[in-house]
Symmetry: C2
Subunit: 196 residues, 2 copies
Amino acid sequence: MQKGEQTRASILHRAVSMASVRGFEGISIGRLASEAGMSKSGIFGHFGSKEALQLAILEFVVEDFKLNVIGPALREPTGETRLRALFANWLDWTGTELLAGGCPLVAASVELDDQPGDLRDSLVEQQESWLDCIRRMAQKAVAEGVFRDGLDTRQFAFEFHGIGLAFNFARRLLQDPKARTRADQAVDRLIQSAKA
Amino acid sequence: MQKGEQTRASILHRAVSMASVRGFEGISIGRLASEAGMSKSGIFGHFGSKEALQLAILEFVVEDFKLNVIGPALREPTGETRLRALFANWLDWTGTELLAGGCPLVAASVELDDQPGDLRDSLVEQQESWLDCIRRMAQKAVAEGVFRDGLDTRQFAFEFHGIGLAFNFARRLLQDPKARTRADQAVDRLIQSAKA
DNA sequence: ACAATATACGAACGTTCGTTCTATTAGTCA
DNA sequence: TGACTAATAGAACGAACGTTCGTATATTGT
């Protein structure tokens, strides 16, 4: 059977956009149904519960993130170049038309921080692996002698991620046209100080 | 009349905690009523609408922020000391028992970035003035010769704020015990690079 | 083409939501 | 103390929520 998976995917696509704008708690099966021109039960049947739908959304987003952010970066030369590509891909990705309301992972990070459950657990796991991905790339730069010996790469990842959060904030809430420039400048400074 | 304002304040206190945990959209008059041991209409009467309640919550939080974060910092000597106090106060404040679910302003920043209305407008205004507060303190340090001449103080504020966001993320989502150390270290680096 | 099954609908469920009324109680001021 | 008003309760509203169920319609594999 494939018709089902097809509509399931198109529902998910819509759901991701909705979650991006209204948050994970803000998606509703009823609204999703009317947007998709389907009945509530039609939507519901594809997932079995709202929580399962939310998990599917998260999984979908993470997959898209790996595909469009991490994957392309891994095809760049290691070290500084790869890290800069990772950062640029991340910021570009949050501007994708799929993510009409900005990075859902950033939004979920503050939305779910006090909501225990599978959804939160899954997000934590993903975000930890994201920080670890940054850390490993920085570690590689250390191994290659591009970054200084003894660099605290976890600290690097912490700050790297923080710049992305600041970008998201400036771009989406303040609608600051200089948000991207600011973020790039901050990363420049971070990388610079990782060298000396 | 003062009995009214008294209960209104105690309702708001509870509402702030609720918003801190569940977000601004997550507060409900019904739940607030049962927590406070009052009727829904009893709560409702104090505000007139849910949006007015949300605005009152935001106002309450901002007032508390000014009182406990900005105020004490202004009593410190200008320049680097004041900036460090501002940062420490900010991070400490987010650990207050009132703010059980972390900084509501950070949460609101990502929750409201796509929800046009008075609430968003009010938040944007507050956050812009927050960034401006940081900027002015940095500017003062420049004027005093502590920070280098020609420092981009808006950039400084962008990164300063970003470190706070990263702290919130590491602390609340990842429950990283080193979150505070990481944040302090990042600020050290920021201030250091503002000097040379 | 036929049987099997996946897919979707429509109606109804019990809750909860914000909001609006009408009373009744409690507090304040003369 | 008495008159007035503010404060709260309680019931009801229409709408939206997630979920369940029985039924009809497509789609599939043979």
